[in-house]
Amino acid sequence: MALALIIAVFLPLIAAFLIPLAGAGMGRRVQLLAMPFPLISFGLILWCAFQHESGTQAFLEVATWVPSLGLDLVFLVDGLSLFFGMVVSGVGVLIFWYAGAYLDDHYEEHNRFYAYLLLFMAAMLGTAFGGNLLLLFIFWELTGISSFLLIGFLHGTKEGQTGSRMALLTTVFTGLVLLAGVALLGMQVGSWHMRDILAADLSLVDGGLAAAILILFAVGAFGKSAQVPFHFWLPNAMSAPTPVSAYLHSATMVKLGVFLTARVFGVFSEMDLWAPLMAGVGFTTLLVGSIFAFFSHKLKAILAYTTVAMLGLFIGFYGIAESSGARYDFMHILNHTAYKGCLFMVVGIIDHATHIKDIRHLGGLWRRMPLLGFISVVAAASMAGIPLTSGFVSKEYILTELYRFMENPTGLPGWLPLVFSIIAFTFMAALSIRFVWHIFFRPEPEGVAEHFHHPGLMIHLPPLVLVVLTLVLGIFPVLYGPLLLALETPGLTAAMDPAYVFKLWHGVNTELITSLSVLASAIVLYFGANAVNWRWEGIPRWLLLDLAFNKGVYALPTGAKNLSRFLRAEAPLDYIPIIAATIVFSLGGFFILHAEVFAFDQMIPFFLESFYKQHLFIALLITFASFGIIFARRWTSQVIFLSTVGFLITVYFVIYQAPDLALTQILIEAATLILILLLLDRFPKSIMRGERSLRISRIRQSMNTVVAIGVGSVVFLFTYAVLLRKEMDYIGQYFLENTVELAKGTNAVNTVLVDFRGFDTLLEIAVLLIAILGSIGLLMRYRRSSEEMEEGEFGAGGFGIHANDNETTK
């Protein structure tokens, strides 16, 4: 079984990287190349399902991967993973089939499209079977990336770009939140292996932390499943080609949130927060989604919002389930997948045949495409929950659950899920009627015939398969029995009575009456909306949040730029003051807090004791010269003052008995001074007035003064504090003592320079060399050769985006 799963997951993954190469130039026929992979995966998973013993969990240890982080390649086989595996690969087969007919020669890059699809399928299967929480997360993110590529497949369009960006940022953000949850949960449990995770007892963990972990997981699930407040991305992701919408956004990827909820059900469901969080958000989304769907006009938007609503229902369904387990959850998910995938494919066919995306401009298609009409009627009936479709069966059982919850509510008012659901079901039933009637049966408006061409039989077959499934299960619900029994999942599924038979007719009970009244009010609602001719411009944009999101996306660069400006990161004149101020603040602040290190009472005796008279004199002279630098008006005088400081420092070398250094210092000072003066002589006279010609505001001037004094004080205090420590034994002593004996020189400074630490000197010579090279570089300023400038028709590659192009500074 392990081998079968490895092939089922990794074969599509490998194929995803080979298809673009193998399928180059094949055009739409790449589909034939890609088609076998979902078939193989589906077959293998089906086989695994038959091998699997119901009600157990098998962990297939495939390989170790990153043992130090607790991540291994483990597959978890249980009812949940098999169910999702079969849905993903089964619908995958239909989608690949459908895409072959849908993506005709008008599209380009077919090979990439199928590569993305395969990548996506592999990622989905990996998530479903992931037996290590980290592994699951890795595949989870991979679904996000591959769906990004798929949504943006038509990346030339603006919708393709904004839609895919929105989907990626939303799902990656919530994914990162989930990652934090994954990390925290694994750290509490001490392992990321699903066996340990599922056996975790969170009641031992600190309550606040456990609640935080639950919220992090929930945000991850809500993001992927487009729950309020993340519901905005899904409708925008509909810019993808229809096969993608049908596969990702109805049948599989968006159900990952539901999957995750089911996966961690056993871990969290006993917490008090579970029901209010999951059911609260889920049923709110159900209500909001169905209302949005009812008020939308774009075909795909209608379906997208109903999907959002149904996902909310599923998540809420787990929220209100008893902590011993959920009942018949897979049945509802399967039914939804069947009719929603089908409806998406129908919309794709309509778009393909008429090039119309808005329900207001459609009509009378029954005459032109009766088979499609039949498919739509059945699928829409299932969405509305009309008897003889699987949707009806689901709805009855869901209502049973809702009534049960109303009687013993936990954590949230018992009526809320029921009332929200009834309202939502009414809206969805009403829009189902609209969907069928307005597209197929009302008189044909102008414009439909204009582009119409019959899409051919092939493209009808995949939705037909789903419709047949809907009908068979709807008429013979007894079939659910063995299916659900086989997929029983420990920790998730409530104990089932093997003898229980699913029936179509439960007699006249509360559920049936509710169901019928929902349908009745839906008809009233439909005619009510008809009376005003569905005359509204969709949903107010601000409710969708996507506008806000896009605004945010566009405002971010500008805002960030302003922030950078505010932080003065774009003002070169402020760079050094800011650095200096940081040093002054942190060190100065620290010194103030620890003033005792300075022993201020000893300060004056210390200086009197340690200063030679020459010292004091030189120090005064240096201070005087430094003031000269600041207050002199011309550059030349400033340079001379600066040089004076340098010359005066040589006296220190003399005092400390380093004549060579003194000599060097004098030479350098002299050379520098002469060179700079010569250089300044060549400057235009107007600049010669020096920095006084720069207008510097008073504020900046005084701030700079303060910072400069601060730097001086901090360095002074630090030096003073260091000097206070007299008892230190310096390694310099070693040099003084051993210079003659070991280094054969009588001047320790010299032996340090050329022998003890000769390597430093070698490299300082290299520094001089580099400085010379650098000046040469500046002197022989680089000129692009004429041929380089004229290279090709568009000028030199790689250069030429300078001052006029990007305004990095004001």
Binding site: L169, A580, Y782, G798, I801
Partner: protein, 494 residues
Amino acid sequence: MQVIFPLLIPLLTAILGLLAIRSSAGRRLFFAASAGGQLLFSLWLLASVFSSGSQVMYLGGWSAPYGIVLVADPIAAIMVVLVCLTAFSCILYGFQETSIRNEHPLRLPLIQFLVLGLNLSFLTGDLFNLFVAFEVMLLASYALLTLEADDWDVRQAFPYLAINLFGSAFLIALCAFAYGLFGTLNFAHIAVRAQEMSGEPLLVAFGMLAMLVFGIKAGLFPLYYWLPNAYPIMPIALAALFGGMLTKVGVYVLLRLFGTILPHDMDLLYVVLAWLSAATMFFGVLGAASRPYIRGILSFHILSQVGFMMLAITFMTPFAFAAAILYMAHNIIVKSGLFLVGGAVMVLNRTDKLENTGNLWVRTPVLGVGFLLLALSLAGIPPLSGFWGKYMIIVAGFTAGEYVLVAIAIVTGLLTLFSMLKIWMGSFWQSKESVPVVTSDRRWIPMTVIVGGLTVISLIIGLLPEFFIQMAMTAAEGLLDKDAYIRLVLGDLP
């Protein structure tokens, strides 16, 4: 003995190249061969450090702590390999970017000096020698920055020069304070003396000053302002080398400082550094989002990721250090790779201003795949190389109980993705009739091959992380095990 090669070979190469070689083609061959050889040597050094332990070399035979000592411990060996790898790919890339006739004759020797400075910064075990290494590195970087610059570029380069000189002044002051406080300059010896002083306020002050001084080099908020406008002016091959390596020296020194040199009880410093790192990554990534051209985005981004690494340092556990090291290694490779993609875009679209780029996903899908893998890796999408380090940092943060800092890191990850998407949308997905794709300029093909090479390395780290995590763990334990370091360098001296 192996320790000296990463210093000797670049030095000799640079000097020989300056003196002996006249023809441009010969120069290219010579320097490329030398860079390749250095890469092999560094791998050899790495292998022997990991198989038979750290190596110490007492220069001039003067025993520590009196002479200068070179230490190749695991972290140093790893960093040297990364330097050689980045330098090698950037040199090869530079050959494509600039035609042989237009190549500045000083560029290659100066790169070798830069490599010398970088390698020495990692290998040295002496504070003043570290200052010298920084001087070599910075002088070479000033020279390279303005080597092929026009007037506008020189103006942009000036803040870089000014601030780094300012920083160097503080670095030399730091050396003086160190000598005054500890009476020695040798890292191991300082570590011994600092341990004795543990708890004294002056030691904390020293640590604070060191943190800020090296923070300037590493790009710590608010000391990083010099960087984002300086790097974009360089030719891409150099920008990639600078962007990949230079700030990481600062990060490395901080690792060394907090791990090996200072006592492990400087809680005040860890808190300050943690919050400054958080600010760095957050403001850095926002700065990146504000830039409308590829090199600008990537340059600003460097800071954000440096913030990640420094944040990890503050948790002060072997696991967190390993996270920082792994993240740093990944980041060096991926960041250089992304710069090189930017160069290929500039060749193909004749600009890297996102408004005027486009059509590349259709025309050059291989480059697109390379960019996508590198960019997603940078954003920390699993299972690419950036994920593991980021995940480890998150775990380390949770272990330390720093939930707010982790939250900032997570938001930063999202914004990173945002800014990478900006490039992806602008250059690859955007389709604009008016934007040319000059595939006839064949330079983009070898450029893509070099990008591909770096992408493959990043993929290997991503798909087989265990090996690299183990290496990083070894290096981290080496950094934090002060006693072992002291024994290694000083022998059984007190």
